[in-house]
Assembly symmetry: C2
Homo-oligomer: 221 residues x 2
């Protein structure tokens, strides 16, 4: 069945919201991420339900069907593969690729996606540490911790970010907080929950709680 860019974006947004919860997704939540009005969302949900891509009962929220999930994952796969391409092959920085990938994710050609995957060396994650769904729609769950949840004197490795915004990513770059960076937490300040941390064994600096919340890490010791 034919699918429009708009429908693809709705499915992707519902998928994203579903990752954070096991509850049904509300019309308003979709409206906010789609940057549209609730009334428009209601219309679209009925349409997506007619096409069998979501399960939707009015007033009760929405969930992806198995088929909808498959479509959403294929879009996420394309988005993240293109992001890898843009960084690894085209020399973009990690804060520059999201908007372009938002366009490229709608290019329709299974052959192209699989050739791209191969060309990139079958990457497991995108430039922000997010896992790339496999050809057959399997999305590995990478269970990382938020830096804001780690206790003092622990050491960990920066594995991903919980936000793709350019301002956030640029700040991380400025602080030398790149994927793979080694973080040694020296102290956590009770007052503002800021963290005093050494990045790659350099002299420790302060990181705000707001930043730490959006940094995903693997604990080393």
């Amino acid at each position: 069945m034919a699918i429009s860019f708009t429908e693809e974006n709705y499915l992707k947004v519902i998928h994203r919201l579903s990752e954070a919860t096991s509850e049904d997704i509300s019309t308003n939540a979709v409206a906010e991420l789609m940057q549209t009005k609730a009334a428009s969302v209601t219309d679209m949900l009925r349409k997506l339900a007619d096409k069998g891509w979501v399960n939707y009962q009015k007033y009760q929220g929405v969930r992806l069907s198995a088929e909808g999930e498959k479509i959403a994952l294929s879009i996420v796969r394309k988005h993240r593969l293109w992001e890898v391409f843009l960084v690894d092959k085209m020399g973009f920085n990690w804060d520059e690729v999201h908007e372009i990938a938002e366009q490229l994710e709608h290019i329709e050609s299974d052959q192209l996606v699989n050739k791209l995957d191969e060309y990139l060396g079958f990457p497991k994650t995108d430039p922000h540490g997010d896992p790339i769904p496999s050809k057959d729609g399997i999305l590995p769950e990478l269970a990382y911790s938020h830096l804001s949840d780690i206790k003092a004197t622990k050491t960990c490795k920066l594995m991903g970010v919980a936000q793709d915004s350019a301002v956030f990513l640029q700040l991380l770059t400025k602080l030398n907080l790149n994927l793979g960076a080694k973080l040694a937490i020296k102290e956590i300040n009770e007052f503002d929950r800021s963290i005093f941390v050494s990045i790659n064994d350099a002299a420790p600096i302060f990181i705000s709680h707001d930043v730490a919340k959006n940094i995903l890490v693997k604990i080393l010791a």
Copy 2:
């Protein structure tokens, strides 16, 4: 000013038709290439004229304005650069890339286009021998001859094709008629204008006039 995929495709089609003639382009000609109805074209021409991208007087046909020409060339540039990418980097055959490039040509990012250009080594032509417009909108005129116009016993080099259809390109591949092939015309048959030609010094074969019409060559001797 914002531009839609549809508007881009109309500008591209008007540009393509304008290359073949210095006359104004007719509504019907646009309708045929756009695979739509004349009435729809009329609507769109008025809209494109309002936006300043074409000069259009009803019943008098249409021409690109300077700005429209610039937009059309930037789309052609993207189309052809992506075709090079698909063949050179992704390993597609020349008959497989046109449809995908039709999608990729609408991706909007000057930075991406220029990085792609560099990544591909600033190619001068696409996989079909068509010239690639430069960043500042200059499209070199490659004045090649149609193989069907060459006299017998001449030798020439295959420089491009006048048609992108997959069936045509697949036939050429089957006949070993690739870009750069050396063609020695042995004889032209008056009856059906078929050509008896040696490809890369192999034993001569027959090529129909219909095929020869769509092959662009440079005369060597």
